[in-house]
Symmetry: C2
Subunit: 206 residues, 2 copies
C-alpha cells in the first residue's frame, strides 16, 4: 500500500534475476534465524550482491522483509494447491506430508509466515497486514476443500465449513509453533489429528 519497493520502473532481465536471488536468500535466512537476527550483511553475502544493489531493489530492510512475506505466501499457497483437500483421505495425505516435512527440518523454523507475523505483528503494521493477507489466501485453500465436502454432504448441513477451515489453519499454526519449540512433531500430530478426527465425526456417522 504505502511505500513498496523503490520500484525501478523497468527491471531488466538481469535485474529480475538479481532481485529474485536477494529475496530468496533473505527468505531462507529469515526462516532460519528470524528477521531481527538476519542482517543485511548476511543477505548480501548469501545472495552475493553488494549493499548498493540491495538498496537499489528495496527501500530499506522493512521493504525487503515485505517482499519476503509475499514470496513465502506465494510458495505456501502453491504447495498447498498440489493437495486435494476435499476428502478425508486427501486431508490425511496432506497431514502426513506436513509432519514429514517438519521432521526433515528437524522441527526448526516453524511456519514460514507465522513466525514472521508473530515477530512483526506489534511492530510493523504494514508487514502485519501483509502476513494477514497471506493467511487469508492460505485459509482459502482449506475453505475450498471443506466447502466441497460440505456440498457433497460429507459434512452435516449445520457445520460451517469456513469456520472449520479457520480452525484447521489455527491448529496447524499452533502445532507448528509447539513443534518448533519442543523440537518434537508430537504437538503438530496431536493438533492435526484432533482436527481431522472432528471433521470425520462431522461426517454424520461416527
Amino acid at each position: 500500500m504505502s511505500t513498496a519497493s523503490p520500484a525501478p520502473r523497468r527491471l531488466t532481465r538481469k535485474g529480475q534475476e538479481t532481485r529474485r536471488r536477494i529475496v530468496s536468500a533473505a527468505a531462507d535466512l529469515i526462516f532460519e534465524h528470524g528477521v531481527a537476527h538476519t542482517t543485511i550483511e548476511d543477505v548480501r553475502e548469501a545472495a552475493d550482491v553488494s549493499s548498493s544493489q540491495l538498496y537499489h531493489y528495496f527501500d530499506d530492510k522493512p521493504g525487503l522483509v515485505r517482499a519476503v512475506i509475499e514470496h513465502q505466501a506465494d510458495t505456501i499457497v502453491a504447495g498447498q494447491e498440489t493437495f486435494d483437500l476435499s476428502s478425508l483421505d486427501g486431508l490425511r495425505a496432506w497431514r502426513d506430508w506436513v509432519i514429514e516435512y517438519q521432521r526433515k527440518l528437524n522441527c526448526s523454523g516453524g511456519c514460514p509466515i507465522g513466525s514472521l507475523g508473530s515477530e512483526l505483528a506489534d511492530t510493523d503494521p504494514e508487514a502485519r497486514a501483509r502476513v494477514a493477507e497471506g493467511f487469508k489466501r492460505w485459509e482459502t485453500t482449506f475453505q475450498s476443500g471443506l466447502r466441497e465436502m460440505h456440498a457433497r454432504g460429507r459434512l452435516t448441513p449445520d457445520t460451517d465449513p469456513d469456520t472449520l477451515a479457520l480452525a484447521l489453519l489455527a491448529a496447524l499454526q499452533g502445532g507448528l509453533l509447539l513443534t518448533q519449540i519442543e523440537r518434537d512433531t508430537k504437538p503438530l500430530e496431536a493438533a492435526l489429528d484432533a482436527m481431522l478426527e472432528l471433521i470425520a465425526r462431522l461426517g454424520g456417522r461416527s
Copy 2:
C-alpha cells in the same frame, strides 16, 4: 542450567523488590514489542533503575529474558489454575475468559510465552528449553482436567486425554497467533470451539 543470573548469593529485601520491578517491567515491554524491539534502555526507564542495577541482577540481556520467561510461565500457570478444566462447562468458561481477555487487549501481544518462544527458538537454545519447560507446565493443567473427565467416563475409554490436552494447547496457540495477526478474535474462537466440540463429541453420545 548453564549461566543463570550472577546470583548475588543473598538478595536483601530491597534487592528482591528491585529485581522484581525489573522483571515485571521487562515482561510488559517484551510482551508488547518483542525481545528484539525492547532495549535495555527501555527497561531501565520503565523500571526506574540504572544500568548498573540491571547488570547487578542479571548477567546480560539473554539472562534477563530468561527471567522473564520464568515469570510469564508462572503467571500463566497460576491464572490457569483458577479454572476448573475437568468439565465441559468449566472448559467453556475458560474459553470465554481467554477470548474476553484478548478482546480487552485489542488482540495484540499474542501469547506471553508463545511469541517469545517463536522469536527465540532458533536463536537461543537455553531460552527455547525454558519456554518448552513452561509449555510443559501449562500442558499439565489441561492434562489434569481431561484425565479427570476420562476417569469419570466423560470421555470414551479409547480417547487419550494427554494427546487431547496437547491438541488443545496447540489450538490455543494457533488461535492466539492468528488473532494477533488478523486483529480479530474469530480465529481464536474457531480454534477453541472446534476443540471443545470434539471433546463434547468424545463424550460418547453426540
